[in-house]
Amino acid sequence: MAYKKRHDGRKPDETRPITAKAGVIPKADGSGYFKIGKTEAYAAVYGPRELHPRSMQDPKQGLLRCTYNMMPFSGQGDRVRPGPSRRSKEISMVMENALRPIVDLDAYPNAVVDVFVELPQTDAGSRCAAISAAAIALADAGVKMRDVVTAVAVGFVDGLIVVDLDYEEEAWKEGEVADIPVAMIPSTGEITLLQMDGKVEKKDLLAALKQAQPVFQRIAEIQRGAVKQRYAEINDSIEKA
């Protein structure tokens, strides 16, 4: 039986409900919150600040450093043991690769821009939520950048092209599943994260990437809206004072 209707009633190009906010972590220089369905990510930016040890400093450009971490109770199964894992290290690296093209690191010689992401709960799509939250945090911190980065999974569940797979779809038993986390610079359509679990034909992959374009634009507007909302609030509080 082919997967014609999504198990939660969503349309194929419909994401789960999204909530995005900026300025959620007062101690940070900038912060973002991105919740999609039951996957929830907090991101904080500290910096640009001096990079230690000094031997790592580069007088030509700053360093963007990401740290992805699932809270121990945030997984679908057993407790996630605290501390870095192979998985969290790889995700931290691909996050850096996904975000670096939009950040003007030439503006921050010898410095580091640290991005820390914590996930209180996950239901698939956590690396995409982490990237989308991190982009909001970078903008909130006033880091020099040319656009946001928007990330969401596209994929196939038993032949149906869908976006934003949840855990139940990723684990779909009755047909083949391909889960493809993608990050995009929305103003140019350039792709900065591309991974895949599953099997897919080249033409189907390209079709899915093209079909998903409007979804990225919609999410990007939500991210930009979160930053604008934050600055409207700051403006109001200045005017009142």
Binding site: A28, A43, N69, M71, S74, D78, P82, V117, E118
Partner: protein, 263 residues
Amino acid sequence: MEKVTAMDNALKEHISEALGKGLRLDGRKLDEFRPISIEVGKVATAEGSAEIRCGETHVVVGVKMEVGKPYSDRPDSGTLMVNAELRPISNPLFETGPPTIESIEVARVIDRTIRESKTIDEKKLCIKAGEKVWMANIDVCPLNHDGNLIDIGALAALAALKDTKMPKIDANGQADYHEHTDEGLALESFPVAVTIVKIGSNLLVDPTDEEMRVADARLTVGSLEDGRICALQKGGDGPLTIDDIERMIDLAITTGKELRKLV
């Protein structure tokens, strides 16, 4: 402890000067807690959870129930474990890496408060003596750390334990995290932790990050609903007189009664 910087010395002077006039930097009275809000059950992947905000300190506490083997010296008892991590998302002074001594202390004092008060009857966590027991893992995860993590984390831990629903056990004897029962954890007592810091001759409740950094000494007092003390931890390298300790315990127990009403 982190080393004391010139900034800390200036901060201490500033805080002490204000305290001389009976003021705290955020305008609170010395014995006043910051406003607290607690939301339970928000984390779908945890068996129990509490998201707590106290002033700008913001913490998520989750309870994860796992099936494991009992300790050989207590074959009919489940286990309880509290873990806390001062993650670098929550404060510019925290770094990535293995748990620091500060985070270990936070975890152990919260653990002691809950364990010594026998909040959870570990015998009731036994599934099959000598083979299978429930292990209750409590993780304290700050998102924004503006001081007093022990008190705030302990209060949220109690709320999260109260919120906990046990998972079903599947045919293989493992926890099925997608099916929960209506059965909760029976809480046998309601311990709360209250930390009092001493700055000069002043005793302060609910210290902020800055107040903690400049404190001469602190005392965390875990207390029960009947007024008994269930845990103590003196922190900081300044000494306390017996008179100080008496005043701090009184203040902690009075404050604890108000905190307990929130859970």
